[in-house]
Symmetry: C2
DNA sequence: AAACTAAACTAACAAGCGTTAGTTTTATAT
DNA sequence: ATATAAAACTAACGCTTGTTAGTTTAGTTT
């Protein structure tokens, strides 16, 4: 369904948008980077907007699928949260550029793409809310404002892309353990 | 030094950029929102870029000044961190729009403004690193990867603007306590 | 060899951009 | 009233933007 060339264009676009932002990347610079004239891009894609939507909705789908796995697990709330931490780490490592593009450029989505992005984001947060509520109910999670918990859990996970690529000491597996330890157990000794 | 009209223009620009992104806001839409023709804006500002720089470097300066206060405190590392949590909350509440503009649009800065932004950001992180190192050294902070600690502390603080405006239950003072409790003590019970 | 198809090309359009020049209005101070 | 200065206006320039039309090239199938 998605040709090799199209994938290449979107991949190059992702790394350009990552560095410069969606609006600053022109079809001409994108074409040059691909090694082609601007008009030729339109043999493969239908619009600039389609490229952005493809990148962002691809990441969003990865999260939706990963959340489905976590929800289906027969496990304690805290273990489901650990599973989600793994999910964020894996997506960040496997789709670093797309992840960064999503976080910084989703506001440039239009129409149905924007609607779909917001829908999947809201659904993800709602699912996490449910897991946290269950944890508070069974006493495994501290009884503080659930929205605050969601937020202080999700922020570091969402912005892993800022930090992970520039550190060298931890691999994915170590990161998973240390991050889970810090997020669940806190900073204090 | 900065006239009333100029402040108004920059303030209107901030809320437009916040919603639409820097590149998507044109001088014509900005002018219309201010109630004036585009060319008239140039009686007060010298360029679109100046507006962005003014917004972002203003927030950056607030952080630099706040960090200076924290550094100068005669207090334990954990109390300095609590002070920084307060700082982030105060800036987020007092300059919500500017804060969001900074986080999402700093990559559109150019030349010396970009250099200055990066300098102040790096300095802030270096100062926080020092505080955390001191805390690890005296045993008050857990001995895990310091970069990971910085990051998982800073992410929720930086993205408070996403969350704080849409919740109603906590005021600034309560938020300060609960957030410090969660960030320092973790989620787990 | 002929026909077909995918994907490149050149050229250009219409729209929108930030910004400037030159002029007029408005308000304040003399 | 008159002069001055601040801040608005109209008009336009030069450029860049995403995209389209029409054509040519290259590779594969019959």
């Amino acid at each position: 369904m998605v040709s090799e060339r199209k994938r290449e264009i979107i991949s190059v676009a992702s790394s350009l948008i990552r560095r410069q932002g969606y609006a600053a990347v022109t079809m001409r610079t994108l074409a040059q980077e691909v090694g082609v004239k601007a008009a030729s891009l339109y043999n493969h894609i239908t619009s600039k907007q389609e490229i952005l939507a493809h990148i962002i909705l691809g990441v969003a789908q990865s999260f939706t699928e990963g959340m489905a796995v976590a929800k289906a697990m027969d496990a304690q709330p805290l273990d489901k949260i650990k599973q989600l931490i793994s999910l964020h780490i894996e997506i960040t490592i496997q789709q670093t550029s797309d992840m960064e593009v999503m976080q910084n450029n989703w506001m440039y989505l239009e129409g149905e793409s924007m609607a779909q992005y917001k829908r999947s984001r809201n659904q993800y947060e709602a699912d996490l809310r449910q897991i946290i509520s269950a944890g508070i109910a069974d006493g495994s999670i501290r009884n503080v404002n659930p929205e605050l918990l969601i937020y202080s859990l999700l922020s570091p996970l969402r912005y892993l892309y800022v930090w992970f690529p520039r550190q060298k000491t931890l691999d994915a597996e170590q990161l998973k353990d240390e991050l889970a330890s810090v997020l669940l157990g806190g900073i204090e000794n």
